[in-house]
């Protein structure tokens, strides 16, 4: 049997005395879309940021496509990798931020081509062709030369998605991608994510958009208090939750 694309095992993380993740296990199969739900402070974002080592975890490990992230294993010891190695690993993991974090002094096209050229050392011509294609796909073909501040929030987030995809990542992580958007702009970003899911990209999405979870997710994960409380197909977790806490959360957001 093939191994999972994302394999999170026994992950713990504390900020000082505050334990944010208390032993999280999560497997995502290639091509699957996993949506993580949960109240704020439940550790969803920290989990996501641990997967690409933006947060260093205290215990447990994360593997992407079989490769240990942030560490090298020798016997029963995990040696932290050099930053250069970690940066290389991150090029396999797309990340879309809540606040977009586009580079404001670079044009849309430069935002998209920067990492493939400087981090992956792919030939410029090839990267630019791919960038134009991706920018076209997220519906911004006429904005390639614009600067991020000349775009709406929804357009910026779609650029951020194109930027993440330009690295040809094995998995794309979305950290509340629509939470910073005006309500009427949420749809266009979800639409872009939906078509991405349809193309067979492995995705983990932290969001409050229950409708998106119901429609697109293969697996819905509900987190609370640093643990995964329950997970399963959307029909089960959203419509027939087994856990009281899931039920309480859903009754608030639905």
């Amino acid at each position: 049997m093939s191994h999972p694309m994302v394999d999170v095992r026994g992950v713990h993380k504390s900020y000082g005395p505050l334990e944010v993740l208390r032993g999280v296990d999560l497997q995502v199969q290639p091509g699957e879309v996993t949506v993580v739900l949960g109240p704020s402070g439940s550790g969803k974002s920290t989990l996501l940021r641990s997967i690409n080592h933006l947060e260093k975890i205290d215990r447990g490990y994360v593997r992407i496509d079989g490769e240990l992230i942030g560490y090298r294993r020798a016997g029963d010891r995990l040696f932290e990798l050099k930053e250069r190695e970690i940066l290389r690993q991150r090029t396999h993991i797309g990340f879309v931020f809540q606040s977009f974090n586009l580079f404001p002094h670079l044009t849309v096209r430069q935002n998209v081509t920067e990492a493939p050229i400087s981090a992956q050392r792919r030939p410029r011509a090839e990267v630019e062709r791919l960038a134009d294609l991706l920018i076209e796909q997220v519906g911004l073909g006429d904005k390639a030369g614009a600067y991020p501040r000349q775009l709406s929030g929804g357009q910026q987030q779609r650029v951020a998605i194109a930027r993440a995809l330009a690295l040809r990542p094995k998995v794309v992580l979305f950290d509340e991608p629509t939470s910073a958007l005006d309500p009427e702009l949420v749809g266009e970003v979800l639409e872009a994510m939906k078509s991405l899911a349809g193309s067979g990209t492995t995705m983990i999405v932290v969001t409050h958009e229950i409708g998106f979870a119901r429609e697109v997710a293969d697996t819905v994960v509900f987190m609370d208090d640093g643990r995964i409380v329950e997970q399963g197909p959307p029909s089960q977790v959203l419509d027939d939750p087994r856990h009281d806490r899931t039920r309480a959360f859903l009754s608030k957001v639905l």
């Binding site: 930053e83 991150r90 606040s99 974090n101 002094h105 400087s118 992956q120 501040r149």
Partner: protein, 326 residues
């Protein structure tokens, strides 16, 4: 409807409908603005008159010495000191700022102490220290630290007055530059670095491609201040008897006794240098302002062209109207 009388500025609903687009807008008048402008103009005229008509200013002598070879050489030397002080100062300052922002407590404290020391001691004192370094250390040797020396050299031969001035200005400037560069780095949103690392962009590339260009927006205005400050600040090296602009005009007026005229010569040159730098700063700021605003404001030149274009269009329109009327 147009025949209906309009009283006290009230407009009937019918009229509003009909006239909304054909109404002419009359701009508010500002009589006090005009009076204030007139007062300022008179004061300016008085000042200019006082400058021109009083023979004590010695404008003829000013003209005679403004481009005198010795003055031009002094200007060149002043520029040279400024350029060296700024370039080396900001190079060292950037290193200090990076040390200060590093994760090593030792580097942080060394950088902090450097800034503390070199900001605390007046520049003029620092310059005299470097000038008199030979009293403290007769010879300077190069070799393995605490080990054997490979060769050594007399301090006086290595550090002449010019070198002492450059070292003094550089080390002093670096302390201020460090804080300016650091403030620039701090002004960049943390999310920028996070995004760059999430994309796997290499560290040095993050620094030069992502961080620095955005930091420049904060750095340039303050750095412009510093550069302009240093153009004039170089005048303190006159105490080392170096022929920069201020020292040179003193030499000349001690010879010919035209104190005011010679000070004017120096003032005019400092004005000129500062003007060039201010204009340069404006364009450098625009360059790093790309993407910061939705659209860059027009340069003064573009604005003048814009106004002229509008005038020309209006004149052409008038000509067309006249032609049509005939």
């Amino acid at each position: 409807m147009s025949a209906a009388p309009v009283l006290g500025g009230t407009v009937t609903a019918d009229e509003a409908d009909e006239a909304a687009e054909s109404l002419t807008i009359v701009k508010a008048r500002h009589p006090w603005r005009w009076i204030a402008s007139a007062v300022v103009l008179v004061l300016l005229a008085m000042a200019v008159n006082a400058l021109i008509t009083n023979p004590a200013w010695d404008w003829a002598i000013v003209g005679e010495y403004l481009f005198a070879p010795s003055v031009l050489e002094a200007v060149a030397f002043t520029i040279q000191l400024t350029v060296l002080g700024i370039v080396l100062g900001f190079l060292l300052g950037t290193v200090l700022a990076l040390m200060r922002l590093s994760r090593s407590p030792l580097l942080v404290s060394v950088a902090w102490s450097y800034v503390w020391l070199f900001r605390s001691v007046p520049l003029i004192l620092q310059l005299l220290f470097w000038y008199n370094l030979a009293i403290l250390y007769r010879r300077i040797s190069f070799g393995v630290p605490f080990g054997p020396a490979l060769f050594d050299i007399g301090t006086m031969d290595l550090i002449g007055p010019v070198t002492a001035a450059v070292i003094g200005l550089t080390l002093h400037q670096a302390a201020y530059a460090a804080e300016i560069v650091r403030s620039g780095f701090l002004s960049v949103d943390q999310g920028q670095l996070e995004a760059a690392s999430a994309l796997g962009i290499p560290r040095t590339r993050q620094l030069f491609r992502i961080l620095l260009p955005q930091a420049m927006r904060t750095i340039v205005p303050t750095a412009g201040n510093e550069i302009i400050g240093l153009v004039k600040g170089t005048s303190v090296v006159y105490i080392m008897a170096l022929p920069e602009l201020f020292y040179q005009v003193q030499v000349i007026y001690n010879r010919n006794g035209r104190v005011i005229a010679m000070l004017l010569v120096a003032a005019i040159w400092y004005l000129l240098l500062t003007t060039v730098l201010s204009v340069a700063q404006y364009y450098v700021e625009r360059r790093f302002g790309r993407g910061a605003a939705r659209a860059l404001p027009p340069t003064p030149l573009q604005r003048v062209r814009g106004v002229l274009a509008v005038r020309r269009a209006a004149r052409d329109q008038r000509l067309v109207d006249l032609g049509g009327g005939r």
